[in-house]
Each structure stands twice: as C-alpha cells, then as structure tokens.
C-alpha cells in the first residue's frame, strides 16, 4: 500500500489499445444506422469485429509482458476540465483489464458465432448484432478506463445494451417490463456508484485510479467505509447481488445468447471487477470487507435455494449465476490473496456458464422454445453434442474433481475458513453448504433435461441437434469449462499481482485444508446423488403443493413481493396523489387567485375571449404595482 501507483505511458503497439473499443463501436454504429440494409452482412460484421478484438487483445496481452511494470495508460482527450476537476478519456491496460478483455472478446466471439445460427430466423437479427457489438464496446470501456468516470461511462453503456437486449422482443410485455426492471434496479446501484465518485473528488480531488488509490491511505476510516459501501451498492446492482438481485432472473426474457454473454459471462461480473479494481479502498477498511463477505455469502445461499425450486431452465441458470457471483463477492471481500481467487473463479465461470446457457439455448432451439425442465427428459440421445458439452459445464460448476470449478471454487471456500474467530465458521460453512446445494440443483437440472423419460409436450415430434455453427462454440466452451480452471489457477494468480494485492502469507484455516476439501466433496456428491435419486424418473408435470421453504423459494424468497409492497405500490399511490394535488391544489390556488383578482369565478374563461381587455387590465394592475414600488422607494421603506 505504501507503494505509489504509477502507470507508464502507452507506446508502440499498446498505444493503439483504444482500437479494442473503437472497432465494435464502429461496427455497431454501421449496423444500426443501415438498419435493414445491413441484414445480409450484419451478423458477420459483428462477429468479425469481436474476433478482431480478440486477436488484438492477444497481441496487447503479449506486449504487456515486456513492459517494466506491466501497466500502461493512454489519455486520449480531455473530457471534463472545470475548475480543479480534470477527467480524461483515458485507458489503462494492465493485467486485470487484460484478463477481462480476453474473457470479453474470447467468450464473446464464440457467443457471437453461436448467435449467427441461433438468431438466423429472427427478422431483426441485424439489430441484435448491432446491440451486441454496442455491448462489447461498452464492456471493454468499463474494464479499460483509467478513472472512475470512464468506468461509469462503460457501466451505463452496458446497462443500456443490457436493457435493449433484454427487451429485444419488445412486443412481448414481459420482455419490455423485464428490461425496464433491470434498468431501474441498476440505476439504484448506479446512484451509489456516482455518489462514490463525488466523494472521491470531494476528498481527494481526483477520480483517476492512481490518485484515488494513492490517496486512500490519508482518508479517515469513516470516509473509506462510506465510499466503499457506495461502490458496493453499485456492484450489487450490476452483479445481481443482495439486495438488488431481483432483476437478473427476469433478464432471461432476452434471447439466450444475451443471457450467456451479458447476464452470465461478462456484464454481471462487472461488480466483481469494480471491487477488485478498487482493492486499495476495500482492503483499507475491515468493516467494509466484512460487509462484502456477508453480501457474498448471503447471496450465494439465496441463489442456491431459489435455483433449486425453479422449473425454467434459464431461470435455474440465472439463479446459479447469482449464486456463483456470490462466491466471487465472498472472494473479493475476504481480501488479500482471495482477490485473485475471485477473478480466477470469474474467468472459469465465464466459460462454464456461457457453455451451459448456450447449451440451454440449443435445447430450446430443438424443442420449440420450451423452457420448462419438467417438459424435457431423454434428450441425451437426440442431442448428443449438446448433452456432452452441457455435461462438461455441469461437472465444472458442481466442482467435480478434475474440472474447472474444483480448482477455482475450492480455494475460495478454504479462504473463507481462514478468517479470524467465529466468522471463519460462519462464512466457511455458508460456502460449503452452497457447494452442496449447487451440486443438488444443477444435477436436478441436468437429469431432468437430458436423462429420464420423455415428458415433451405433444407438438414436439423430432427434437433435433443444433447446426454446426452453434455446436462449434459449444464444444470450444466445453473444453474451456473442463480444463480452464486447472490450467489457469496458479499462473493467473501470479499474473494478476499487482494490481491485485500480494498474498502476505496465509493464516491457517480453522480446519485443515484436507478436511475442508473432504467435506466439500462429500457434500457435493451427496447433492449429486440425492438429486439423481429424486429426479431420475422425472418429475410431476405441474407445480405441486409444497412446504414453506419451497413455496418461498418459488416466489424468489418474496423479494419481488417486498419491492412491490414497499416501493411500487406506495410509489404509484404517491405519484397519483401528487398529480391530484398539483392539479387541484397548487394550480387550483393559482386559478382561484386569478379568478378572485378578476372578480368572480368564470372570469378567467371570459378573459380568454377578450384578450385585449385582460391585457389592459393587467397593465393597470402592473402600473399600480409600479407606483407602489416608487412610493416605497421614495418613502425609504426599502433602504
């Protein structure tokens, strides 16, 4: 922390790092401006833009390794310069932004490719790719900015793209409502983020990362706590964490590639990025870290519990995203070496969750857009590729030994047990319990979809495997799901330090490493086994009466009901009351006054027909006021 953070000026190849944002942005603008005229090539242009971004990222990535401090910045132009507030349109390419760029362009490219096939029959496919590229540009800006205002620009940009894509099928009222809900709940978080930025300027005189991180040490702990909590509010909004989690499952109204890219692999992890990027702030205050850990632990359990009660394939995956990001929040909250663990889990999650979402899309593609897992079953034979790739994702998320999740989730659980005192037990067990529950609900999803008897609706005769352009990305993502975690874990942790803090030697976990791993494996296999036994013969086709817990889980633990009762209903009542008040009260008083002045009601209406008369009369009144004013001045009342 005592070290001063400085970034070198970007030169050579790295000087063109802005291309990462410019290419998809231009592509998006071309597609959206041409409209239907771009229909023939928009999907290829959009995919190529992301592909080019991926190639460029690789080049930048390798050039970065030769840089002395592996971090370069490039200030493009002066954005705001008023008084002592100076904000540049400036970019920072460092190990943290580099891995995010690789994830966004790499996984993004595969999902774009998949969408070429998935959206083939949609008459607005070109618009879809325009929005998709817009998202990529905004997301890259978010992770590439070198100050908080740039981050905020990207932050709102991805919010816009997310809104547009959730409500892509805007003629469906549910899609339009879901998009609006996402935007509004995010705005609540954004308000927190933007006030945090105000705090930075008010206390440190700058919003640049380097200035803020170097200055945090000089701030009182109350200010750091407040600043951190405000950032956290922003993070919870974007990442679907408690208390702003309710929008994310509804976001599944968007086309499935959107769910895979935006609402699983990249955008929703922006909150984790924000906290990891701001590690200097979060590490500076223990209370703050405890709050982050609590949000993570609570959300990961919420996600598991609700995920286990849902029957819509995409919503189960959505709640599992909420839950997995909970693990990441847990990681960044634990601090120290766990920052890197969270980022590694985030990368692995990017692979396996994108893989499973696209797999779900492939299933829906073959099943006439059916999303109810009670109506699937026995698909493994008919969709062998989808089945195989989805299985890889499933093994990865449950943390099956040898697969990604095993290498990335396990260390976070261990890290939770490394906290001091009783909190180690609390958060450690929450994480362990989450592992078991995850195994249960993901196995339930996998078994009900692919195994067991057919429970299809009557209109489905021959479910079919998806075309190669969809299967190809699935296979690549499946390979990533299987091996990425194991391969990445230690090199990435090393690569990320700095900007992420150095692990200053572990405290010993309260249980030995071996015991934790054994417990975690036992719980995982218990979850898998239980789910298999319960659901191998299928399940009831309609919702069954259930106990208190399951009913609550089906209702999203009453979060929506809470929002409706506490915010929506009173809000609507308030606006109606105010409209009434404004029309009858304030305006009524004004009209009443006018009528009284004019002598009797109905006068105002008559004045309308006799404009000249009213004008003359007003002038008279005016003259009286003027005379009064003169008299007042002359008599010295005013001086």
């Amino acid at each position: 922390m005592e070290q001063t953070i400085e970034y070198a000026h970007a030169t050579g190849v790295l000087g063109s790092v802005w291309l990462l944002i410019a290419i998809p942005l231009v592509s998006s603008a071309v597609i959206l401006l041409l409209g239907r005229r771009s229909a023939k090539f928009a999907h290829w242009l959009g995919t190529a833009a992301i592909g080019a971004g991926f190639v460029l990222t690789l080049i930048y990535f390798f050039s970065l390794r030769d840089q002395p401090n592996r971090a370069v910045e490039r200030n493009l132009w002066e954005f705001i310069s008023v008084g002592n507030l100076k904000v540049d349109i400036g970019l920072l390419f460092d190990p943290l932004s580099a891995v995010f760029c690789l994830l966004i362009t790499g996984v993004g490219f595969l999902i774009h490719l998949y969408a070429v096939g998935y959206m083939a029959h949609d008459e607005r496919r070109h618009t879809f790719f325009g929005y998709f590229n817009l998202f990529a540009a905004a997301m890259l800006l978010l992770v590439l900015g070198n100050n908080y205002v740039m981050l905020y620009l990207g932050w709102e940009g991805v919010g816009l793209a997310s809104y547009l894509l959730i409500s892509f099928w805007y003629t469906r009222p549910s899609a339009a409502t879901a998009g609006k809900k996402a935007f509004l709940m995010n705005r609540v978080g954004d308000a927190g983020l933007v006030i945090a930025i105000f705090t930075m300027f008010a206390y440190l005189g700058s919003t640049n990362y380097a200035d803020v991180f170097n200055g945090v040490g000089g701030l009182s702990s109350t200010v750091v706590l407040l600043m951190g909590l405000l950032l956290l509010l922003g993070a919870t909004g974007k990442s679907g964490q408690f208390p702003l989690q309710a929008w994310l499952p509804d976001a599944m109204e968007g086309p499935t590639p959107v769910s895979a890219l935006i609402h699983a692999a990249t955008m929703v992890t922006a909150g984790v990025y924000l906290i990891a990027r701001s590690n200097a702030i979060f590490s500076a205050n223990e209370v703050l870290q405890t709050v982050v850990v609590s949000v993570g632990a609570l959300t990961l359990l919420i996600g598991c519990i609700i995920g286990a009660a849902k029957d819509d394939i995409k919503r189960v995956l959505a709640w599992s995203t909420v839950s997995q990001i909970g693990y990441m929040f847990l990681g960044v909250g634990l601090g120290g070496g766990a920052y890197a663990l969270a980022i590694i889990h985030l990368l692995a999650h990017g692979f396996f969750k994108a893989n499973m979402f696209l797999g779900a899309g492939s299933v829906m593609h073959g099943m006439k857009d059916q999303v109810d897992i009670r109506r699937f079953g026995g698909l493994w034979k008919l969709m062998p590729w989808t089945f195989g790739t989805f299985t890889a994702g499933w093994l990865a998320i449950v943390g099956f030994p040898g697969f990604s999740g095993f290498f990335t989730k396990e260390p976070i659980i261990v890290a939770a047990f490394e906290r001091e005192g009783w909190t180690a037990w609390l958060y450690g067990w929450a994480a362990l319990l989450g592992a078991g529950l995850t195994a249960f609900y993901m196995t339930r999803l996998w078994v009900l979809t692919f195994l067991g008897p057919k429970r299809w609706t009557e209109d489905i005769e021959h479910p079919h495997e998806s075309p190669p352009i969809m299967v190809g990305p699935l296979v690549l993502l499946a390979i990533g799901s299987a091996i990425a975690g194991g391969l990445m874990a230690s090199p990435v942790a090393k690569w990320l330090e700095p900007p992420l803090p150095h692990e200053a030697g572990h405290p010993e976990p309260v249980m030995s490493h071996g015991v934790i791993t054994t417990l975690s494996l036992v719980l995982t296999f218990a979850g898998i086994g239980l789910a298999y036994l319960l659901f191998r013969r299928g399940t009831a086709l309609v919702e069954q009466p259930a106990g208190v817990v399951v009913t609550a889980a089906r209702r999203n633990l009453y979060a929506d009901a809470f929002n409706e009762i506490v915010f929506e209903k009173p809000g609507i009542f308030l606006t109606r009351a105010l409209v009434f008040l404004d029309n009858r009260g304030i305006d009524g008083a004004v009209n009443g006054l006018a009528a009284a002045v004019g002598g009797g009601s109905g006068r105002l209406r008559r004045l309308q027909t006799g404009f000249v008369r009213s004008y003359a009369m007003s002038m008279m009144a005016g003259a009286l006021v003027v005379v009064a004013a003169f008299v007042a001045v002359q008599m010295g009342w005013l001086s």
């Binding site: 905020y152 809104y163 009222p173 440190l204 109606r576 004008y615 006021v625």
Partner: protein
C-alpha cells in the same frame, strides 16, 4: 473580426425576416416557409461566425456595442455577450431552423395564415436573441416582456386542445412575474445611481435590505419563467397546448431566460442577497427535482409529461446555480444548453408521434415500435438524453452540477441524485407504454401511424442527435467558453471552490 456589430445584426436580422415573411401572400405558404428557413439559416451562419470571433480566453464581456436610447433614464441599447450568453445565443440560432423544418405542416390545419406562423417564429427568435444579448437592465426587461407576445400568439392561435386557456395562463403568469421585475428594475434605478448600465450597477453597493428586496423582485420573475416549484403550473398547460415546435422553443430556450437572468442579474447585482437566499432557492430547486419527476411518472399526456421532466431538470439547474462552485455553475449553464437540445428533441419527436395519432394521450398508443421503428428509436434516444445517460450531453452537465454541489453540500447532492433514478422511471415507462408491448389495434386503423420518419423529419432530428452525442463525449469547446464567465460570476458572489478535504494528491483549489 470583433468590430462587426454582431449582436445588433443578429437581433435585427430575424425581425427583418419576419416582416418579409409576413408580407408574403397567404396563397403561397411554401414560399413563406422556405424564406423563413433560409433566413433562420442565415442567422445561424452569422452566429457561428460570431462564435469564432469570440475569444474564450479573453475579456468577460465581448462584442460590446452601445447606442443612445433614452438619455433621461440613462437607458442605452447596449449589447454584449459573455460565455454564458454566447452559448444561449447559439442554442437559439441552432434550434430555430430545426423548429421551422419540424413545424413545416403544423400551421396547415390551422385556419390562420401560414406566413404569420413562420413570421411569429422569427419574431420570437429576435426577442430571444435580444434578451440574451442585452447588457442594459432596461433593455433586458423590454425584451423579457416582449418575448411573451409572439409566444402568446403561437400558443393561442396555432395550439391544440385548450390553447386559449393555456395561452392566457402563460401570459398572465409571465406578466405577473414581469411586474415584480419591473418594480425591482425601477427600484434598482432609484438606488443604483439612476442608470440601467449593468456594469455600473454591479459595482454599486446596496443596503442589505434593499438588495434583498430587489433580488426577490428579479428572482420571482425568473422563478416563474424558469419555472421553479411552486410557480410551475403554467408550463404543463402551455407545453401541452403549444404546437410541438413552439413547445420545443418554449421549454428549450424561453424558460432558460429565467435561469440566465438569475446568473446575469440576481447573482452579480445582489451578491449578499444571493448568498442569503441560496438555501431557500436550493430547497425550491430540490423539491422541483423530486416533485416534478414524480408528477412526470404520473402523467398520461405525452406533452405534459415532457413539460414536467423539464421542471425537474430546471431543479438541477437551480441547484447548480446556487451551489456557488465552479463545477456546479458550469454544469448549470451547460445543462441549460444540453436541456435545450435534449428536451427540444424530445418535444419534437413527441410532436411527430402525436401528429400521427392526433392524440397526446399515452393510452392511445402502445406497441407503436412495430409500426414506426425509427421514430420509436429516436424517441428512445431522446429519452436517454433526458435521463442523462453517459455518452449523451446532459450527462456531463448533470454530473458537473452534482459533483460541484457535493463538494459544498452533501445532503443536497445526494437527494438530487435520487432524481436520476426517477428520471429513468419516467422515461422508460413512457417508452414502454407508447412503443413497446402489445400493439394497440386502434393504431392500425390510422394510416399515418404506418409511416415512419420522413426525410424532412430525419433532417430535423439528425443535427440534434449528432450534437447531443458530440457534446456527450467532447464538451470541452463549450465548457471552455462557459467556464471563465461562471468563474467571474462566482467571484461576483464572493465564493470560491473548496479544496479537496484530504488533498494529498492535488494542489489547493483554483484561484
């Protein structure tokens, strides 16, 4: 280049144009339209030349001209522009040609003369330019009052439903405000050494009570014009009844005269009173932000809805002015410009939608995006600009207002920030109810609803969209012009920016 009498010519030119257009025969409306458009473009070109001639780093007031007028009162025809006025002048000259193109068919249905409509627009332009260019208090007052007349006729003669009621209400409201100002202007003359010269008056000192009374006179007039809560109820009626083009000018420019007046007259002339009244003004502005946003959410009429959003935006401007910091002040002025562009666009697009349906009632729409996708897209864009999404110009101004306010008054900034959530609510709900969801079958029976944006309409929206995006990413050309003027105003008020509370990384505050 500075010697050319830009401001006199800029003020006089539209008036001349108005006379020419008015004299054209009623039987040839197209000629009148084309002449009016060409004339307004000429004015625009002149204003661009003036912008170039203006030296951002130079004196506070430039392009000064002064002519004898009423010697006994020492009232002179004095024109001069500071950075704030310059930006407002450009806003006027940019918006008027756009509004003329947008209003191309607005007067066709009216029984009144079409050339008169366009002549009135040019008269309005003349008065709007005059009010911003005036540097003599009496001259300003005259333009301030005369400005009402063309707008009264635009609403009263060419407006929609309830136009008479709205026009009279608008007129009376403004007139009452004007009377308060007249009283204050005369009072100022009496105690300020029998002159109307702005420069002379700013250097004179008043007794505390005198200053406060005079401030109040001006402030009430400006608060009605802006409008601030609770003087706002005329705006939704006027904005709802005015033809879309006139409404865009009314909300986009005319209302800015209120906030401009506060910056030019209230603050520099009565610094003590400004500081004394600031908490009250901020309270009114803050109420306006929240109250008007909630009302906007509850509106069922598109044009009234947009009017209420404007009242909320004026709350932000008010907070920015009375926070007395460089960022907040510059943000407020930039807000005045950006709001003119964004709300101007929103009013024009809403007008296009309303014209197709012959109704401004939101319930008469629904799912319109299916029929007019481009129009729906532009409406959405205008909505985004209104909610100050980053990347659009209003974000920069809103950010500056809030960040500048935060450095001196945290609770106010935080409460105002709640307004950005409400802004998202009224915009998105309006967009959803009009363009998304199930298609309202009644729309199918309306043949005009099947016609997407025409070339003329695209010409109207394109420059505004481009400007909003350009200033959203590169506001510097404008902030550089505004900044010195705002700093000078802050100096007049006797306020300077606070230094960062824990300033380990930056030097102390600006000079």
């Amino acid at each position: 280049m500075q010697d050319f009498p830009y401001l006199t010519v800029l003020t006089g030119l539209p008036l001349l144009g108005a006379i020419v257009v008015w004299c054209l025969p009623k039987s040839r409306p197209e000629t009148a339209k084309i002449v009016a458009l060409a004339w307004s473009l000429l004015v625009f070109v002149l204003s661009v030349v003036m912008w170039i001639a203006f030296d951002a780093g130079g004196d506070r007031f430039q392009l000064r001209e002064s002519y004898q007028w009423i010697p006994t009162w020492d009232a002179r025809f004095t024109f001069a522009a500071d950075g704030i006025a310059l930006v407002m002048l450009l806003l006027v000259t940019v918006l008027v040609p756009i509004v003329i193109v947008a209003s191309w068919h607005d007067a066709d249905k009216s029984r009144r003369s079409i050339p008169t409509y366009f002549a009135l627009l040019l008269v309005l332009e003349c008065t709007m330019i005059g009010v911003f260019a005036a540097a003599d208090v009496f001259l300003f007052y005259v333009f301030f009052e005369v400005m009402l007349v063309p707008m009264y006729f635009l609403i009263g003669s060419f407006g929609g439903h309830q136009r008479q009621y709205a026009a009279v209400k608008f007129f009376l409201y403004s007139l009452v405000g004007g009377l308060f100002m007249l009283a204050a202007v005369i009072g100022l003359w009496v105690v300020g050494g029998h002159t109307f010269d702005w420069q002379a008056l700013t250097s004179s000192e008043f007794a505390t009570n005198t200053g406060r009374w005079l401030f109040l006179g001006f402030f009430i007039a400006f608060a009605i014009k802006a409008p601030f809560f609770p003087f706002h109820t005329w705006l939704p009626d006027a904005g709802g009844a005015a033809p879309a083009g006139a409404a865009a000018l009314l909300v986009g420019v005319l209302d800015k005269v209120g906030t401009f007046g506060i910056l030019r007259y209230c603050l520099p002339l009565f610094p003590e009173a400004s500081r004394w009244f600031a908490p009250w003004a901020i309270a009114l502005a803050l109420i306006g932000i929240i109250y008007a946003a909630l009302l906007a959410i509850g509106q069922n009429d598109l044009k009234r809805l947009v009017s209420y959003t404007s009242i909320a935006h004026f709350g932000f401007i008010g907070v920015g002015i009375f926070a007395f910091t460089t960022q907040a002040g510059t943000g407020a002025v930039l807000y005045m410009l950006n709001h003119g562009l964004a709300t101007g666009l929103l009013f024009l697009v809403v007008g296009m939608l309303v014209a197709r349906r012959d109704s401004a009632n939101i319930r008469d729409f629904g799912g319109a995006g299916k029929l007019v996708p481009v129009l729906a897209g532009v409406l959405f864009f205008a909505g985004l600009a209104s909610l100050a999404l980053p990347g659009t110009a209003p974000f920069v101004s809103e950010f500056l207002v809030l960040v500048g306010t935060f450095t001196v008054n945290k609770p106010v900034a935080v409460i105002a920030t709640v307004g950005i959530i409400l802004a998202a609510a009224y915009v998105l709900w309006m967009v959803q109810r009009t363009t998304q969801g199930n298609l309202n079958p009644a729309l199918l029976e309306e043949p005009r609803m099947r016609r997407d944006l025409s070339v003329r309409e695209k010409v109207v929206v394109a420059p505004l969209i481009l400007l909003i995006l350009f200033l959203g990413f590169y506001p510097k050309p404008v902030t550089d012009v505004i900044n010195p003027a705002v700093q000078a105003t802050m100096q007049d008020v006797g306020k300077s920016d606070p230094a960062p509370i824990s300033g380990t990384t930056t030097e102390a505050a600006v000079k």
